[in-house]
């Protein structure tokens, strides 16, 4: 299978995501924002950083990038899309994920290793995890407070679209109901604020993030086999 990682001007973690993806799959290619061609990617990652300087609002300009038209079409056909940090913001702005990300309650950028709890494990993004399992993954952002109307939050929980929550006492940004990552209703688009691509090697902190990439790989392998 092949991962495609989008590169916008201002992306910062795209190479990290590419390296992380390459650890679990042979092929991971950077996709230029101005190019509508996804180059045969079986899964798309919208990476972290500050796309277009995050001017206007985090992710607000990137959603209009030519490549995002193709990502939307890919997602509509059931293709798996993973948004990390800025990528989560972009996917929310693009309407591919519910809710929005607001400024951290502390009003500051925060870089910290956080503990997450896997809420839903039977998904393309968490199938390598156990429900209730804890993952230690770093978060680093200034605009990571997940927000949605109460009714939407109820719906997300009822539909089991909340895949990851910050463990008790670990919520770094004031996210509603400690939500760290949500999927769309169809389950093939997932966004999270913490950075699994920065938790793929013991030497640099932890390997818990690999499970997200492994899940996605296994899902794609299965999808391709069908």
């Amino acid at each position: 299978m092949k991962f495609g990682v989008i590169r916008f001007p201002g992306s910062c973690d795209e190479v990290d995501a590419q390296l992380a993806a390459a650890r679990v799959a042979g092929d991971a290619e950077l996709l230029w924002h101005a190019d509508r061609d996804l180059h045969g990617a079986d899964a798309v990652i919208v990476p972290g950083g500050f796309s277009y300087g995050d001017y206007l609002r985090a992710g607000a300009i990137a959603r209009f990038a030519p490549v995002m038209e193709s990502v939307a079409a890919f997602a509509a056909e059931g293709g798996p899309v993973l948004g990390i940090c800025n990528g989560f913001q972009v996917l929310c702005e693009a309407g591919l994920l519910p809710g929005a990300l607001l400024g951290n309650t502390g009003l500051r950028f925060l870089c910290r290793q956080v503990e997450l709890e896997v809420e839903t494990a039977d998904t393309p993004f968490t199938r390598a995890c156990q429900e209730g399992e804890r993952l230690s993954i770093p978060a680093k952002h200034m605009t990571g407070r997940y927000w949605a109307p109460e009714a939407t939050l109820d719906e997300l929980e009822a539909n089991r679209q909340v895949l990851l929550r910050y463990a008790p006492g670990e919520n770094p940004n004031g996210s509603a109901r400690d939500i760290a990552g949500v999927s769309n209703a169809a389950g093939n688009v997932f966004g999270l604020m913490p950075h699994p691509e920065h938790a793929v090697e013991e030497l640099t902190g932890s390997t818990d993030g690999l499970k997200i990439f492994q899940s996605l790989r296994d899902h794609c392998d299965e999808r391709l086999a069908v």
Partner: protein, 728 residues
């Protein structure tokens, strides 16, 4: 008023002396016009010409086996094997940060990043060394908040991790805060590029942001004179940073180099186009024609002199062959970076400034770059103490109370509040994060790693400029030894007061002597640096603050020790000869004691042995933790090891003469607290066993008596709450 007297008064406004102005007239054979005077005033400023420090800097060792690029280039570089070089440099942005802290600090980071990618290296880490007045001052709290936010804003947005640094709070920095930023870059040796312009007829391309009126006269107005009362008015001299523009500029520059399109590359920093172009011409021994009418402007109707001296950020200048111009412009378009051919390389030896068809300035490159007068300093050891005693802030007299007081004090409390505002992980190389080890460790391809640390305790340098500077060098090297790294090269930023004053000149001369002695003892070259003078106001000079950054290498990234005690039952030992003294110590400061005149000397030979012992033991895996004994002495070092590992320790120092001295006396750079298996430590040369990693309390005894016994959770609370409490 005659035209002559008009221009004479103008040169003084621009910071040139009458004698310097005379010399300029002599070099030109006429009076300079407005454009020429503006360019000269910047190129002959302290900031660009180092006219008060050049002679001293020439005494520093600048050669070494691993040296790839030394002083004079945009950044220095050392070989780290595998065809790779590591580029690094530290630079100050003190004066701008004192005037506008957020943008001052942000553009400080932006400037040092450009220095590193100007030689073709990808920036892989930033470290910062910051100094502010005491936190009891509202201004210092404001400066700290905004400087940290500015550093984070720029570094985080551009995707370069901020992996380390230091912050000190001392009264003499109240009016003149220090913001020194160091950048480390990685480059394949064959991709290194220099700034020397070459090839008559080659094209000069300016790319990046457009040019505005921001930062006009920054180098001369801000960086080369004392700050006074009315500095609000200097705010327009501070540049405004745009990390997104720089991120594109960085990727664009590296792609241009990857495609082999450039003959030379130079960033635009202090003195803007004037400095960049004359440096490029000077190094290449050529002339340059620049048409300011072709420079993309942010606002209309800018004067030619304004275009030449603007310090608008995020701009680069490159030389390319005529047949490559189109491809250069195409790469810049891809990265949405504005690029314009603005001139050409000539054989005239002149920097010719054109405005459309008209020549508006003609400057001999040599006169601009090489002919600035160099001044002799007149150092004189001050007869009386220069600095007032700090206010007393610690009342506790029992050892436990003193330890908690030290751990919660502004200089020793946890820096978590600051470093959590920085992305320390991006680029996936960070093996040791802040507070995990004494030096930042960054993995290299192939399993090895580099370690980086930045150090400089100004108060100790104020006590004794020579010894204090030596200590800074050895403390920095000790931090590297703790992760098993061998020093390869040093960069420095010399932050001092007004060098025209004999007592400041003495501090500067003594500090540079210490720096040279330290480098020679370690066998490493100075690869480059920066000088920031005139850091003084009506209240007097700052503490003399040489900040040193050292890059070292370690063979195995997986074998770098951390600070924290790692396993119950491990033996704790002291390596190195610790002859502590309270002179100039943190405890003496908190007790409000005046600065002593002089510090105990260092025994360079025994220090080198201690460093080598720890380095080898970390590399062999014999040690599970290593931490140098620095501010706050042995008790604070032990507490920090407990806190980083979440384990307690039982330690017996044996009979001591003076308890305060034994616990809190300092001797920076000389000794280490290490831990490991008993048999591994038994084999370690000159390791003095102190005790055992055990339980959840730090207990220190002196023979039969207990000096202190405190729960690790209480130590943690004191250190964690220190900074937030002082900021409230």
């Amino acid at each position: 008023m005659t035209s002559a007297s008009l221009s004479e008064s103008r040169h003084r406004v621009l910071g040139l002396t009458d004698a310097e102005y005379e010399l300029i007239c002599q070099k030109l054979g006429r009076e300079p016009n407005e454009v020429e005077l503006a360019v000269f005033s910047l190129m002959w400023s302290e900031h660009c010409a180092y006219k008060h420090s050049k002679r001293l800097l020439a005494t520093l060792p600048t050669s070494g086996e691993r040296l790839v690029l030394g002083p004079g280039e945009n950044a220095g570089a050392v070989d780290v094997g595998g065809g790779l070089a590591v580029a690094f440099k530290v630079e100050s942005h003190n004066h701008p940060s004192a005037v506008e802290p957020f943008q001052g600090a942000a553009t400080g980071v932006g400037g040092i990043l450009r220095d590193v990618f100007a030689i073709g290296a990808r920036p892989i880490a930033v470290l910062d060394s910051l100094r502010f007045g005491e936190l009891s001052s509202r201004r210092s709290r404001y400066l700290l908040e905004r400087v940290v936010a500015g550093i984070g804003h720029y570094g985080n947005s551009i995707g370069v991790p901020t992996v380390g640094g230091e912050i000190y709070f001392e009264g003499p920095y109240e009016q003149n805060c220090l913001v020194n930023a160091m950048c480390v870059g990685l480059v394949a040796r064959e991709r290194l590029i220099r700034s020397a312009a070459a090839g008559v007829g080659n094209v000069l391309v300016l790319f990046g942001a457009s040019t505005g009126r921001d930062g006009i006269g920054g180098a001369s107005v801000l960086a080369s004179a004392e700050l006074g009362e009315a500095d609000e008015a200097k705010r327009p001299s501070v540049q405004i940073g745009d990390p997104f523009e720089e991120k594109k500029l960085l990727e664009c520059s590296l792609e241009l180099l990857e495609r082999g399109l450039l003959v030379a590359l130079q960033d635009l920093g202090a003195a803007g186009l004037s400095s960049a172009s004359s440096e490029m011409a000077s190094k290449g021994g050529v002339g340059l024609d620049i048409d300011v009418a072709k420079v993309p402007l942010r606002e209309p109707d800018m004067e030619p002199f304004e275009i030449m001296v603007s310090e608008s950020q995020e701009r680069m200048l490159c030389v390319t062959e005529p047949e490559h111009v189109e491809e250069v412009l195409a790469v810049c378009r891809k990265w949405e970076t504005h690029a314009t051919a603005i001139g050409a390389v000539t054989d005239s030896g002149l920097l010719r400034v054109l405005a459309g068809g008209e020549v508006v300035g003609e400057l001999p490159v040599r006169a601009l770059v090489d002919d600035c007068p160099i001044y002799e300093l007149t150092p004189a050891r001050p007869a009386r103490a220069l600095y007032a005693a700090p206010p007393r802030t610690l009342e506790a007299t029992d050892p436990g109370g003193m330890l908690l007081g030290l751990l919660g004090s502004a200089n020793l409390a946890s820096r978590r509040w600051a470093f959590e505002q920085y992305d320390c992980l991006v680029q996936s190389r960070t093996v040791r994060r802040p507070e995990q080890a004494d030096a930042a460790v960054l993995a290299l391809p192939g399993g090895s790693a580099i370690a980086v640390s930045i150090d400089g305790n100004g108060r100790r340098v104020a006590c004794d400029p020579h010894t204090g500077t030596l200590e800074a060098v050895f403390e920095c090297a000790a931090n590297l030894a703790c992760v098993g790294a061998e020093p390869l090269g040093l960069t420095n930023c010399l932050n001092f007061g007004n060098p025209e004053k004999p007592h400041v000149a003495w501090q500067l001369a003594e500090a540079v002597r210490g720096l040279g002695d330290g480098c020679r003892a370690l066998g490493i070259p100075v690869v480059g640096g920066n000088v920031s003078l005139y850091n003084e106001g009506p209240q007097g000079p700052i503490y003399p603050t040489p900040v040193v950054g050292i890059v070292g290498e370690l063979p195995d990234a997986a074998r770098c020790a951390g600070i924290g005690f790692a396993r119950e039952g491990d033996v704790i030992a002291l390596v190195g000869s610790l002859s502590p003294s309270l002179a100039g110590s943190e405890l003496a400061k908190l007790r409000g004691e005046p600065l002593p005149d002089g510090l105990p000397a260092l025994d360079l030979e025994s220090i080198s042995v201690a460093h080598a012992t720890v380095r080898a033991a970390v590399r062999s895996g014999a040690l599970r933790s290593a931490h140098d004994v620095a501010e706050g002495g042995l008790a604070v070092a032990l507490a920090e090891c407990c806190l980083a590992g979440g384990l307690g320790a039982s330690v017996d120092l044996g009979a001591v003469e003076e308890l305060d001295v034994a616990l809190f006396g300092e001797a920076p750079g000389r000794a280490f607290v290490v831990s490991g298996r008993a048999d591994a430590l038994a084999e370690l040369d000159a390791a003095l066993p102190l005790g055992t990693v055990r339980g959840d309390r730090l207990a220190i005894a002196t023979g039969v008596a207990t000096a202190l016994d405190i729960a690790v959770t209480d130590l943690a609370r004191a250190r964690a709450e220190g900074l937030p409490a002082l900021l409230d």
